[in-house]
Structure formats: C-alpha cells, structure tokens
C-alpha cells in the first residue's frame, strides 16, 4: 500500500497528492537559456485526511513551503496530480480555481508582510467575503466582528491598521482572514515561527480550538519539531525535495527510522539541563537542490552503519516499514529492494535495523 492510498479513518482523503514535482529553472546568459533546474519538490506523494493535521517538517530549502504553495496552485506544479475532494486541482481554470480558494486557505509565516498596511483590519477580513459574495453591508460588518472575536480580538479593532498590532495579534488577523470564507483546508506555513514563545503558545491553542469548532483540516508546515509534535496527527519529514519519512506523530517521535529524522530529532536542544542526550551531529551542509546526490538524497551525510554503495545507486521508495510508518531507506528492513538487488549494484552491508535514539526520547 502506498502512502496515498490510505485514507484516515477509512474515509476518502480531503487532499491527495501524487508524484508532485516542482522545478524552478536556472537561467544564464543573454538569452536566459535554461542551464538547469532546482528540484524544489521532487516526486512527492501523500494525502491529508479530513479533520486531521498533517505536519511537514524539514530544514530550509527542503521544499516544504513549495509543496504547500503548489497544492493551492499559488505556484504551478511541473508535474504530478493534486486532488481536492476528488476534484482535479491541476485541471481547473481560473473560475474553478477561484471557487476552490474559498475552500483552501493559507496562513503565512510573516504577519507583517502578509497584511496590506494601507487597509484597515476590517477591510482585510472583508475582502474575501466580497470576492466570494458571502456577505454585504451590515451583514459583512457583523461577520467581521464575529471573526475578530473568534480569534480573540476586540470587534473595535476592525477600524485600525495592521501596524498598530503586535506580531501575535497580526497573526490572529491573518487567521481571521483565512477563516472568513469558511474553508475546509488551511495550509499553515510556519504560522508561529516569527512569534515569541509565550505568544506562540496562544496562537497554537487558538488554531487547535478553531480546528475543533469548524472541523478544519490543516497542513502545518514548520521547522520547529516540538511545535509539530504538539499539533500534528501525522508528520512528513522532508529533505531535499523528498518526503523521507511519514508516520503518526507518536510513531515518528518515539521511533524515527530514517537516519535523517534521527539526526534531526537528536539535534533539538532540550530545555532541561539534567537531560543527558545522545546527539547525532550531521557533518556538512544540505547539498544543493539543483544538483541532488544520486540514489538516496541523504546518503552523503548518513550515519546508518549499513550504508554502502547501493545507497548511492538506488533511489529508495517511500515504503511502509511498520503499519502506517513510511520510510525512504533501503537499509532499514523490511524493504522491497531485496538484498540481491542491492548486491548487484555493489552493496556490501545487508539491511539492518538501526535505532540509535531508542533511549533518547523515552
């Protein structure tokens, strides 16, 4: 079974993505000839079940934001399929797409640049109501007040401008704007990473309350692993444009199987001076997505003891190792890439289960 075939709780997924690719051309010279491409999202498949929160984590440049924007078609995918409730998002024309945007919204990372400084808060929130012809006149005013209250702001704030608010309040305005059109699905692109710790907790709680009240589905993109563990039901880990591990939050944090996830989790500083933790320090930097390594994208930095030549030759499938736990690694058993196939390309170490973090997050 592939990662996309499985709908959460047996229901059809709200969003499903198959073999999604997004490349950004690299142009050079007087004629802007294309000399290469940055493979920002490189063959990614997953689904988001109705009512769940799918967390997407990874370091800068791993393609997590591009994935989110491509699903909403804020960026045009290079290839692949995107379905929203069985509707083909890629085949949609301008008019269908506009109607779709009522159902799919986004909350941006930077609450300063994502709000128009010349519009009042009320006008910002009202815009969606007008465009989608949801409310007019006093009905719209009433809806704006209601939305402001819902995100924990006072209705009087509708007449003020974004610069009069703190970062946390601005993020609440962005949330009210997303909610105004009663969407089913919201891509939250690093919604709390620009906020201070105490304010971050307020916004996370608000997002969780709203999800419960409105039966929302979230794709929650973040680089902060502890925030994602808190908010997500399932988590996808991305590295160099690939999903390298996908599992329930419980499984992923308790028993990360992909060596990259293991290193990522071990690198998070723990706010407890008495905690003794084993740390896997990755050597070097993430390679350039314009020229990703052949085979497994993580092999140059991998610390799996069975790593060998086979890892540089075979692109690992994202395969199910234990129920619901998908991993991109031919050295973590069980694997569909048999030991014979690995030996054929020069492999010397048979797959072997490797769990260096067993005790770390126990």
């Amino acid at each position: 079974m592939t990662a996309t075939a499985r709908g959460g709780n047996g229901t059809a997924p709200l969003v499903s993505v198959r073999n999604l690719k997004k490349e950004f051309p690299i142009r050079k010279g007087v004629f802007s000839r294309q000399v290469g491409a940055v493979k920002a999202v490189n063959d990614v498949s997953f689904h988001v079940a109705r009512g769940e929160t799918l967390g997407v984590v990874g370091e800068s440049g791993c393609g997590k934001t591009t994935t989110g924007r491509t699903i909403l078609r804020l960026l045009e995918p290079t290839s692949g399929e995107i379905y929203f409730e069985d509707r083909d998002v890629r085949a949609m024309g301008t008019r269908d797409l506009r109607a779709l945007r009522r159902e799919m919204q986004i909350i941006f990372q930077d609450p300063v640049s994502s709000l128009n400084p010349r519009m009042t808060v009320g006008a910002i929130i009202r815009e969606g109501l007008t465009i989608h012809k949801l409310a007019e006149g006093t009905a719209a005013d009433a809806r704006v007040s209601q939305l402001l209250q819902e995100v924990g702001l006072r209705p009087e704030y509708a007449t003020r401008y974004p610069h009069e608010f703190s970062g946390g309040q601005r993020q609440r305005i962005g949330i009210a704007r997303a909610l105004s059109v009663e969407p089913k699905f919201i891509v939250c692109d690093e919604p709390v990473s620009a906020l201070d710790v105490s304010v971050q907790a307020q916004v996370i709680n608000l997002l969780e309350d709203l999800q419960r009240e409105h039966n929302l589905t979230y794709m929650f993109i973040a680089h902060d692993l502890s925030v994602v563990e808190h908010i997500a039901d399932r988590v996808a880990v991305m590295y160099l444009g690939k999903i390298v591990e996908l599992a329930t939050a419980d499984d992923l944090y308790r028993e990360p199987l992909m060596p990259y996830t293991q290193a990522l989790l071990s690198a998070v500083p723990v706010a407890d001076p008495k905690a003794r933790k084993e740390r896997i320090i990755l050597q070097g930097d993430v390679p350039s997505p314009a020229n990703p390594p052949p085979g497994c994208v993580f092999h140059p930095r991998c610390h799996h003891p069975a790593k060998d030549v086979a890892c540089t030759k075979i692109v690992p499938p994202l395969e199910e190792k234990t129920p619901g736990h998908f991993v991109h690694c031919i050295k973590q058993p069980p694997t569909s890439v048999s030991w014979e196939q690995q030996k054929e390309v020069g492999g010397v170490h048979p797959p072997e289960r490797y769990l260096p973090l067993a005790a770390v997050h126990a």
């Binding site: 680089h223 692993l225 925030v227 563990e229 320090i281 990755l282 930097d285």
Partner: protein, 348 residues
Amino acid sequence: MSDAQTEAMVLDVKGLRTVFFTNSGLFKAVDDVSFSVRRGETLAIVGESGCGKSVTALSVMRLVPDPPGRIVGGSIMLEGTDILSLDESEMRAIRGNRISMIFQEPMSALNPVFTVGDQVAEVARIHAGIGRKKSWERAVETLALTGIPAPEERAKQYPHQLSGGMRQRVLIAMALIMKPALIIADEPTTALDVTIQAQILDLLVHLQKEFGTSILMITHDLGVIAETTSRVIVMYAGEIVEEASVTELFARPHHPYTEGLMHSMPHIGHDQERLNVIPGTVPAPTNWPHGCRFRERCPYSWELPEREHPPLYDVGAGHISRCHLAREPERRNHPHQPLVVQEGVGAA
C-alpha cells in the same frame, strides 16, 4: 569586593540604563541592569523580543546607535576598566580585541566584497599589528579551529559562496582570533537550521573549554540555554527579573514570568493536550506600568505588586528574583485569572 574577586570578574555591569528618544516618547530599553560575568563562564540572558537583552549586549559593546539611543547611567567594567569612560578610539582598540561579538545574521555581518579570509585577517592586522602574510596565516589557522574544512581554500572565498553555518563559523573565527576575554553571542544560532545549530553550539562549547573565554549568550531559546550555559539571567520589560544557575533555574523557577515561559513551550516526548499560555503582551516600553511590570499578566498578583516595584529578592542558592512572592510564598498556592484576562484583553 576583594582583589581576587575582581580578578575573576571579566565583565561587571552596574546600574546600566540605556534609553532611546523616539517620536512616541522616551523608551527605557535597559532600566537599571546589573550583572557580572566570571572568567571562563557562560552567562545567558534570555527574554522575548523587546525585553532589552540585545540592547544590553550592544551597550556592553558601546554600539548603541546614538541618536536615537544613549547610555544614560551605570558603569561597565571590562577587566577592571570602565569602558563608558573611554573615547571612541580607545574603545576601538578594545572592540574585537578584548571583547568581541557574534551576530545573529551572519550574511549581514560580513562584507560581501571582501574574501572571508581578508575579513578575519583584518582583525589581527589591526589589533596585533602584524603584516598581511602573518595575519593571513593566523586567519587560516583560526578558520581551521572553527571546523571549516579546507580552510586555505575557503579563506579565499566570498561570503555568498558559503552556507549559513559556514558563515557563522567565519564570524566565530573573527570573534576568536584575538583570544578575547569576552565574546558576546547575540542569538548565534537563531537563523540556522536545527542540525546546523547543533554543530555551532557544539563548537562554541568546545572552543570555550579550550581557550577559557567567557561568553555572554543572548537568546530567546530555553533549550539552547539548558545545553550551553552555566548561569542565566531572565529579562522582562527592560529589567532583570530572575538570575540563577541553569540547573537551579530549570528546577525551581521563581518568577511567574520564567515559570510561564517554561510552561508555554512544547517539549518533545511530553505532549500535553493544551499549551499553557502567558496571557496578554509585554507592555509598551515608553510606559512601563507602575509597580511590578509583569503584574497584569501574572496569575498570583495582589495589592503589593500594584503598589510597590519589587526589588531583586534573594531566594537562596545564589538565586535572585524580582517578585514579591519571595515575601509571601504561600500565595503561589492560590493562582487566579490574571488582570488582562479579567478585563478581556487576553489576546496577544
């Protein structure tokens, strides 16, 4: 203070006040802050945006932009010299030499038109008075110390050719080349990814052990503090609200703000249903409230914090806290809704 104590003290800040003159009024960014850094120790200042931690660091470097900012009071003793009494040329001889700084954003702290080797060597050329060839050699040596692979080649490259983690290593090399008494690291890993952050923190801890340099670490990340420092100062609204050793602080946070900060962070492996929050926001810096500055967001506040600005109380084991709870500790057992929530302005 005895001579031995002064000797062990690299930096001693007393009653520091730094203000900014802005259109909306006088902004007391740092309001009567005193602390000291001993030789070879790492002291962290933690707090949220606008608490005054970065302005404290800039004040110690004498880099507060004037106007609009100015240091209006206190003393800053660096190895026994009051640097507030120095003129700019004397200060320039100290900066980068006895005291140096690592900035948050390595790209904007490096000059894009010079090679990184040049920029590291320049520090040695100016302060050690050595020639181009010698200073270049020393730059390459220092770059090697910070774990940059192939330092001879890397030194000839420009900042844009290096990754974020490598640039941060270059800044560390610049800060380290003169073996200063004190390095101020202002959010040194905030702009970096978590795996690179781990590399850089590891490097700082290692270099400190090797050279015995004191580090003043400015950060908002309690995790970074727990892993790298020995003593912590918590700042809120321009002043110190708590100071303790790192183990003591995490085991027994005394100030309700520190307590709130620790509880509002999600922890890996300890998932709770709902995150605790500190309601409300930091008050405006042009108008710190009368009495305790945290009072309106505090779940324990009563008449005394409203009437009286709390001093720093000694709560034992080298632990100080700016909270009247030190006088009436039993009140901690009876938390209530903070004022901002009662008035319906709890949203930040």
